[in-house]
């Protein structure tokens, strides 16, 4: 396979360095709006849909990167787009199930949902799985970044007569340091605004590259006719080859990946939490999936298609044997002029950095919310003032960001031996998402789903997944849809189907047998030696799980051990974990969203449709939680005292950066005026003399 080094000119490097300085200054500028941990992680729940949409573009396109889709575009053609065009199926579940729940329940992380919905032990396990997922994702991001920049770097550099080879890991470490800088000091607001800029730039850069490519080839007709017929199809062959087939990728991406991305990607969830309300979140999701993703699919894959067309007409310019992961850089270098190539490369690396920095920020949020705070609570640390606590958490969050960056670099080691980034990502998604995906999905949409079931999904499901990974020819083969097993990387994609089925199977089995578990535990509790029995079950369960985990004995013993885990774990959870279905599902499942809204507001929601009003503000002293409008403005908004209001700077292009949420106070008589306190003005970043727009939330 042909690989490259030293591509690019001095002009390209100058453009790249300037680009990165501008981006970092831009991020640092908005970083000054980070005042507390809420701003650091969630951007203060204030932004408009368009800002979040563009921010999601940079995150999404960065993760589904130029490198991996160009690689598949080069190897297989237009079907590289299929991963981008299969996310709509779960959107009803997301828009009307998960999104309102995460906003109205005021959870700050996915593990926190598991605690509220199930139990602290479910939260603990979810935290472990989610941290593994997030750190793995960061590792994939770093690996892609490394592979993107390596072709531009020389094979070695010399300092004081000593020659140092440039390695993939060396490049990744340098990138990790640069990435860590502004995320550590900027926070979510900086990330959102940096991503907004990068979202536009990378769409522009990708489309520009397509235009250059088509021009280079002599026009669209020539490009289209140069592509082999199979390369023009939008989907891969149903079940071949093993490294790129439709059915495997359907289960890995359209099912596990889509639910994983929409339901458990903390980075994306935090984007939606930064929206000013649920409806804005729905708009952001809809516009992103309907219109931006198809454009993004062209943006990220076209270098591969152009590369394929050039390789057909001029194999001496682009050899068919070019390393697929390097095709983007190779093609960009051929068709773009010096300086422009630097700009395209800067956009590519910046997009990847967007993904990575979002994930680092999100993982730090999980650390603070699901490790730091519970541990402090457990250790019963003495209470400190809110301001001091917030300052301390912000400091810890920044240290956590640095630690997560380092772990992300280490995670690269697990993925760097896959032939392409695409396969590494596919394998990763198929393996790590199913337990959490099943846990969240059934937790939201099935009221009967119990802590025993979710913990069994995490423990028993994982035991069966380990067996699948260890004996793919036995366990995964029945679900392979005719896909050939590659012994080096068996069933990279279709394993998602097996993993999802075993996790869902364990979950359903345990849920529908809840009554029996309660009966058995009731019997055990009534026995004199009940505690001894349950302790014995605990020891046996740990023992058999250990057999599966560390690969002791043969396949049959391990399979039997996994079954014992699935039988025993629900009994242990039923014994140890208190659970009240009514309390634990209140406002936390799709069928109790109206209750969630009521709890969110602290009273009955007011859904009467009103108008938005424009007002000037007067600073007054008084209750910090309310703002006061005139009677007439309240009437126009159909608002009553106690309803929730969102008020923002009227300049639409600010996207809600200068805004606050508050409660309507008792009205006054000064039409066109709103009375706010000095603190509210400071928090909303409002500027004297500027008009504000107010709207009732509920």
């Amino acid at each position: 396979m042909q690989t490259f080094h030293g591509i690019g000119t001095t002009a390209d490097w100058v453009v790249m360095v300037v680009y990165f300085i501008v981006i970092m200054l831009f991020g640092s500028y908005f970083g000054r709006y980070t005042k507390n941990t809420s701003d650091f992680f969630f951007g203060g729940r204030r932004f408009s849909w368009w800002l979040i949409t563009m921010s999601i573009v940079a995150t999404g396109v960065g993760s589904h990167s130029f490198v991996k889709y160009s690689a598949k575009g080069f190897e297989h053609g237009i079907s590289s787009t299929m991963t981008y065009l299969n996310d709509w199926f779960f959107i009803p579940f997301f828009m009307f199930g998960w999104l309102p729940i995460i906003v109205y329940s005021k959870i700050r992380s996915i593990p926190e949902y598991f605690e509220k919905r199930f139990s602290p032990s479910a939260r603990f396990l979810a935290t472990i799985l989610l941290l593994l997922y997030m750190i793995g994702y960061i590792g994939i991001g770093f690996l892609t970044l490394g592979k993107a920049v390596i072709p531009m770097l020389p094979e070695a550099f010399t300092i004081m007569s000593m020659t140092f080879p440039i390695t993939l890991m060396g490049a990744i470490i340098i990138i990790a340091i640069i990435t860590g800088i502004y995320i550590t000091f900027g926070g979510q607001t900086a990330v959102i605004f940096t991503d907004l800029l990068q979202g536009f730039i990378l769409l522009f850069a990708g489309l520009l590259l397509f235009f250059f490519g088509i021009t280079y080839l002599g026009g669209f007709d020539i490009f289209w006719n140069l592509l082999p017929a199979e390369w023009k199809l939008p989907m891969a062959d149903f079940n071949q080859p093993a490294n790129f087939n439709f059915v495997g990728i359907f289960w890995q991406d359209a099912i596990a990946g889509s639910i994983g991305f929409l339901f458990m990607n903390q980075g994306l969830i935090m984007r939606f939490m930064a929206c000013k309300n649920v409806n804005e979140g729905r708009k952001a999701a809809a516009i992103n999936i309907l219109f931006v993703l198809p454009i993004s699919a062209i943006v990220v894959g076209n270098a591969g298609w152009i590369g394929k067309a050039i390789s057909v007409v001029s194999p001496d310019i682009v050899s068919p044997s070019v390393s697929p992961d390097q095709i983007f850089v190779v093609v960009a270098n051929i068709i773009a002029s010096p300086g422009m190539f630097g700009f395209i490369m800067a956009a590519l690396t910046a997009a990847l950095m967007s993904t990575v920095d979002t994930l680092i920020n999100a993982t730090a949020a999980i650390y603070i919310n699901d490790v730091y705070r519970p541990v402090r609570k457990f250790l019963k640390k003495k209470a400190i003032s809110t301001i001091e606590n917030d300052r301390r958490e912000l400091r810890v969050a920044r240290y956590a960001s640095m630690a997560v960056t380092a772990l992300g670099v280490l995670a690269v080691l697990a993925f760097k031996n896959f032939p392409t980034v695409y396969e590494a990502h596919g394998y990763f998604h198929s393996t790590l998402t199913p337990p959490l995906v099943v846990g969240i999905f059934l937790g939201v949409f099935w009221k009967r789903f119990t802590p025993a079931a979710v913990i069994t999904t995490f423990v028993g499901g994982v035991a069966l997944m380990i067996l699948g990974a260890r004996y793919p020819g036995i366990f995964i083969a029945p679900f392979d849809h005719g896909i050939e097993m590659n012994p080096d990387h068996p069933y990279s994609y279709i394993r998602a189907l097996y993993n999802t089925l075993v996790c869902a199977g364990a979950a359903v089995l345990v849920t529908i047998t809840t009554h029996w578990q309660r009966q058995i535990i009731s019997t055990i509790r009534n026995k004199q030696n009940g505690k001894t029995i349950i302790n014995t079950i605990l020891v046996v369960t740990i023992g058999v799980f250990f057999i599966v985990l560390v690969n002791i004995s043969g396949m049959y013993v391990q399979a039997l051990s996994a079954i014992i885990v699935i039988i025993m774990v629900p009994l242990l959870v039923t014994y140890y974990v208190p659970y009240d279905e009514k309390v634990n599902t209140n406002g936390l499942t799709a069928n109790s969203i109206n209750i969630a809204r009521k709890l969110f507001k602290g009273g009955e929601p007011n859904d009467e449709e009103g108008k938005k009003v424009l007002v000037h503000f007067n600073v007054v002293s008084g209750d910090e939680s309310v703002i006061r409008f005139s009677n007439k403005d309240m009437d126009a908004m159909k608002a009553l005292p106690g309803d929730l209001v969102y008020i923002s700077d009227n300049r639409k292009w600010m996207g809600g950066l200068k805004s606050i949420h508050a409660v309507y106070g008792h009205p006054h008589d000064e039409i066109g005026k709103v009375y706010i306190t000095a603190d509210q003005m400071k928090h909303g970043l409002f500027v004297q003399g500027k008009i504000l727009e107010a709207e009732k939330e509920m």
Binding site: W88, F89, F90, F96, A229, P234, N279, I289, F445, A590
Partner: protein, 99 residues
């Protein structure tokens, strides 16, 4: 080109995906979180159904173009037409809402 590369993935995607999509709408309506008595939710129903047809048409047109049944230029023209319909109907919903 054989069926397993052309239409089989399409039928699998929109068959199984369609079942999941309809199940999503049905479950959220049944749960009460998707309330078709609310005007804004009716608009969302239109957007959801449009989205499904939008993607289905996109893939079908791309397969026809790859098979040379239609010109590749027909794909963006039809899709742009769909966008126009989407925008007009969505704006009509907004107009209704104001009344």
């Amino acid at each position: 080109m054989n069926f397993s590369h052309t239409w089989l993935p399409f039928f699998y995607l929109y068959g199984l995906g369609g079942i999941l999509f309809i199940a999503g709408i049905f479950i959220t309506i049944k749960a009460g979180s998707f309330d078709l008595n609310r005007k804004d939710h009716k608009k969302w129903m239109w957007i959801l159904l449009f989205g499904f047809v939008w993607y289905l048409m996109m893939h079908a047109l791309m397969i026809w173009a790859a098979l040379d049944i239609i010109s590749v230029y027909t794909v963006p023209i039809v899709l742009l037409g769909m966008v126009v319909v989407f925008v007009v109907v969505t704006l009509m919903f907004r107009k209704t809402k104001r009344v």
